[in-house]
Symmetry: C2
Subunit: 414 residues, 2 copies
């Protein structure tokens, strides 16, 4: 099926989904979850083929692990769909309605975006997760997953479509692009008449490609060069625990801490304490000259370290003379994701919150909390690092838009 | 000055503007308005040069009229700046703040977008208008106006910068790109590291170029192929007045009505009445075969008429058999701007509001009301026809974003 046909189907189905009731949507999500469980054997068989081909082609063990499905992971996918069913429906409410002097009643109604495109890598669970969120928010979804996961994604998509059909709902609420050629992806990114938004989920390279080539509005997710600034008045023990958590609790994620800034007046006292704590996980420290002079075994940092998202047991370390210098450094090298200050100064906490330009700015807490579930959204489609439309963790509400509805009684413009 | 230098200055200034208080911003807007009035003679002289060059080059009288400034139009610009000063500051409030089970206090704070790029055509008033809205919402603005208006735009920009400097505020809150080469515009559209959003203001061609070439998030504004559907139960006199208003009150605007749909059961009775009313302004009617058979002097419509934004005294006319057909036609040929139904059926009104996919959907009122001032926003930077970030008239709030601010007490993620 060509992309125009896929786009047309999605557009048509989006009209149906936009006016579905909450109960119908929830029943369909439950049915989709049931179908995924029912087809566990087929999905696992398809995934085994993907995994063995990926291994033959020399995919790294870390990526193979993301690609691999197990009965437990399939259960997780089904649970994810049921969890989304239990979330509140964001659609249909009128957020405000005002009477204008001429008698027009103007309301702002929450409606679906329409058709959402998702481009992702070889993580088959995204297929079910993205469908669940898009469907609950009343959107049709067109998925383009990595070619390494094509059999797994097809099997999951087929199961979900069967679940929808069983509820007499249009299967095309979820469509998977099975032609994984480069030309087709490029064409997909230019389907302006059909897609209302395109969300890339994956590494920095994927996101850059989508941003460079898409004519459809994109929501950028992902990259996080997150800093923690230890202020002069910080509680050292709290600072050590927060940095240890933000750096080592999970290293491959966008909200992990990658860079430490420390006020010069406390560096000599604090850095050895931190080093001892991070040694428990063999974290490599890459510091500026002054910090290397204070701590044995610290590696000298190069200029590019300040802008690097390591996603590894590595932390860059830099001393600063002031809060201003810390904020300026973060605003220069950060990616606008999550930034934290550890301080006991009321004034510095407030200034940091005001002046750091990022999706999430923390006082005395780990950057690892930037996450839809942790923020109480129940689920997330990604973490936006752009400022347009959505910023930070994106839940169901971020997959919606509004339209103005106007009740008149014959008004004309004078 | 090259674009990197311009971008760097804007970025730096945006940090200052983001934390300016409302009183400082309002004083600066008043000072900018004063400076524009003070430099009226220079602005008019610069504009005369632009106008005479444009006339020499054969610019159409309509466009020359948009380019031409007069003392009254300069007063309007200054008034516009003062009006924006009187609007409520959208920045700094925390819209919600919730305590999570782990004690984290997570708030969503309204903040500026940062740096806004505006690309526009030869309308010098946009220079002052766009600055006013961007500045009041705490953003730095980089303007790229049409080359035909370059002297006028420079003179207005210089006056505003003088006003800012007089308040000890950074002049670079407004910067104008004076190099009007094509390469520079293309480079401007790819200034991802510096611009947070790019807003094109102008005709369909300009908007298409920006959407096709920009790597910066774009807000599309503008094109409106707006429909009015006259339902079987419509009050004919109300329908005639609304269509007359929406078609003829101002023809060159995006919220003017371009296409009429009429229920077949009332076409024979209604269309002659409408024809008589629209004849007062010599509106050309282009109809489907059935409508042409009913009304003398109606021109047969071609397929492309259904998708044409005439911006002229022309209206396309088509009969439909049902509400469903009307909605399907609108969703197919409309541009998602403003759509209206004239009806006395409760059910049809509600279905039209639910199922038509547009920024503004009306019952029994003219489409001409889709406008920031008419909606009570005080001023607008444009009317968004996309679904991401902003839909419909964009006021000050649409030039802002949010950031999460999180107050912790040592929380780490388990």
């Amino acid at each position: 099926m060509n992309l125009t046909e896929i786009g047309t189907r999605a557009k048509n189905v989006s009209r149906v989904l936009a006016v579905l009731g909450q109960q119908e949507k929830n029943a369909a999500l439950e049915a989709a979850a049931d179908a995924v469980c029912r087809h566990e054997a087929e999905i696992l068989a398809a995934n085994r083929l993907d995994v063995s081909r990926a291994e033959e082609r020399g995919m790294s063990p870390g990526l193979v692990d993301r690609l691999r499905l197990t009965p437990a992971r399939i259960q997780d996918m089904a649970c994810g769909l049921r969890d989304v069913a239990s979330l509140e429906d964001p659609i249909g409410g009128v957020e405000s309605m005002e009477k204008r002097p001429n008698g027009l009643l103007i309301g702002k109604k929450r409606v679906p975006l329409g058709v959402i495109g998702i481009i992702y890598e070889a993580r088959p669970n995204v297929t079910a997760d993205a469908f669940g969120l898009c469907f609950k928010s009343g959107n049709a979804v067109i998925l383009r997953g990595g070619s390494d996961a094509i059999r797994s994604n097809s099997a999951i998509t087929e199961a979900i479509r069967e679940g929808l059909a069983g509820c007499s709902l249009p299967e095309d609420a979820i469509q998977l692009i099975t032609d994984t050629s480069r030309e087709t992806v490029r064409e997909f990114m230019r389907m302006k008449g059909f897609l209302d938004v395109l969300i890339p989920r994956g590494g920095a390279g994927l996101i850059r490609t989508v941003v460079e080539n898409s004519t459809v509005p994109v929501i950028e997710t992902g990259t996080g060069n997150c800093h923690i600034y230890v202020d002069a008045s910080a509680d050292f023990s709290m600072a050590c625990e927060i940095i240890y958590n933000a750096k080592t609790q999970r290293i491959g994620v966008c909200n992990a801490c990658e860079s430490l800034l420390v006020h010069r007046s406390v560096a000599a006292q604090f850095l050895p304490l931190l080093k001892a704590r991070l040694d428990e996980k063999q974290v490599e420290l890459r510091g500026d000259r002054e910090s290397c002079a204070l701590v044995d075994g610290m590696v000298p940092a190069a200029e590019e370290d300040w802008g690097t998202e390591y996603l590894d047991y590595i932390l860059s370390v830099k001393q600063v003379d002031s809060l201003e210098e810390a904020i300026a450094h973060i605003n220069r090298y950060g990616t606008g994701h999550s930034e934290a200050i550890i301080t006991n100064s009321y004034e510095n906490a407030q200034r940091f919150l005001d002046e750091v330009d990022a999706a999430a700015v923390y006082v005395n807490a780990s950057t690892r909390f930037t996450d839809g579930a942790q923020f109480g959204f129940g689920a997330e489609i990604g973490i936006s690092t752009q400022k347009l439309h959505a910023r930070g963790p994106m839940g169901l509400r971020e997959l919606t838009t509004t339209k103005y509805i106007i009740y008149g009684s014959g008004q004309v413009r004078p």
